[in-house]
Amino acid sequence: MFLGLTTSSRAPWTVLHVRGEIDMASAPQLRQEVVRVIDRGDHDLVLDLTEVAFCDSTGIGVVVAAVKRARTAGGDVRVVCVNERLREMFAITRLDRVFDLFDLVDEAVAGAVPGAETREAG
């Protein structure tokens, strides 16, 4: 019924590790944590869904909300998931075109930081 939520820092990224089943019962808990992290200024967020055993459209809605909030704050969200079903859901909803999906946290934090190209390109 409750999600396991832990954060770790992979500067400049903050990684939010989610464990458990995301549905209407648990989504509010995830939403709250996402808001808390972004609003304290950690708006470059990696959502690590590696250990999410189940996620329905309510959970997908929280991911969408996270992307929106992070981008509004000048940051971005990257999503890590290997679960085939979850990958499929992002594909069916075409959300895989809206934000980036990675297989591993290491890959997600290795990519360029959003805005870095324009800041560093010269």
């Binding site: 019924m1 089943e21 209407m24 019962a25 329905d56 969408v64 909803t93």
Partner: protein, 147 residues
Amino acid sequence: MDADGGVELEIPAHAEFLSLVRAVVATAAALDPRLGDERIEDLRLAVSEATTNAIESHAQLGSEERIAIRCDLGEDRIEVEVQDQGEGFDPDSLSPMPPPTDPERLEYEHGLGLPLMRVLADETRIRTGADGTAVSLVVYTTPRGRS
């Protein structure tokens, strides 16, 4: 559909019972040895979506009525019906999602449930009216769903 051959479940219209509905559907579906894990997972997710909508419809009315879920193991299919006593809705008048390239897309946290059900289930039937909605989700157990 043979009503006597099925499982019936009634739950309070609260989100915490979703995991129970999923457990029932997965366990009932697993009774049919022809159904692979992937199809069971399809059905489990589709039913979870339908039950979520049913629970929401009662919440909107402030209704304390219960939600009924029926699983029928048929000859060539598993059919799960989720029945609520909410206000109903018009499935045809739901606004379509903007394309992923549209920045507006991020305004849509909702509206994914029904499209997902339609992809996951082999058949999705919705009967809806002022006294409630019944969503039937069918997964075939034989290749063409006809025995």
